[in-house]
Amino acid sequence: MTAPESTDNVKDLIEYIAKALVDQPEQVKVSEVEGEKTSVIELTVAKEDLGKVIGKQGRTARAIRTILSAASTKIRKRSVLEIIE
């Protein structure tokens, strides 16, 4: 695993995290729906891996969102994470 090349792309951040969490990294897909102030990051993983990115009581998803919001603060743009089921 290597460090990110671009630090401005929160989409890559989500991909980096998700790929390390799941059993089938090749099935990880991240897309970004950009808005003026807010962009929505949509994360899709293999059905069997959903639990891995959500975690017990949503703890993993919450941790990812916390880091996403910190990263968004840095680039001054709000982003929200949607995990697509």
Partner: protein, 268 residues
Amino acid sequence: MRFVEVEGKSKRDAIEKAARELGVPVEEIGIEILSDSGRGFFGFVGGKKVKVRAWSKRESREKLLDEVMETEEPPRIEQEAEVSPDPAPSASAARQASDEPGEATEKAEQAREVLQGLVGWLSEQATVEIKEETSERILLEIHGDKTGLLIGKRGQTLDALQFLANKMVNRSRDSAKRIEVDMEQYRKRREQSLRSMAVRLGQKVKKKRKPITIEAMNAHDRRIVHLTLKNDRALETKSVGKGEMRKLVIHPVGGGRSKRHEGSGAAT
């Protein structure tokens, strides 16, 4: 408890002024009307004055926790960030040690890389160092700028980084090692302020003989409070509730002079 006494044109006006003075939302203050020369309770009666005494209902709860964290920490973070380029001898020694081949295990190096990868999105300059490694845990330390962003409010970003690093590295249970993440000795400082808060709240409980509830703490924080007050026989600490809603209650124990015993009676 801190009281303020304010006068306003109406009761509502007085309450709003009191809330501003206390720095809490209107819904979270308790009031007592000292003098009310107006007739209607909520009417804006011209020329009349209403005097109220107000206090913050939240004071003994999460507000206090926030105050402890917010007043005691951020300034020090800035100061320490300034001196960090020249760290304590132990830190540089550890850094040298981790550069030597064979010192850090593959697992620790993997953990360091994963965390470095995460941290890179939050700060270009921040670097991750393997500070310590034992058979059951790996302590990683983040160095660099953007301390506030990386630690987050009440350490929530640091906790999230730690949580994810654990999940990302320890995918197979058999070789799992607990990963701890720290920056600018945040963990130690947080522990110290939690301890002093625990002692302070404990004294308050003993004095008022009423239990106090502290919310918004994670298991690790609660543990520190439990341990701090463990040896005080006049106090008992308990955690109630489930999951995210779990909170810690400090109860007074025994003691004859209690006038309001109903609160502490329910605890035992």
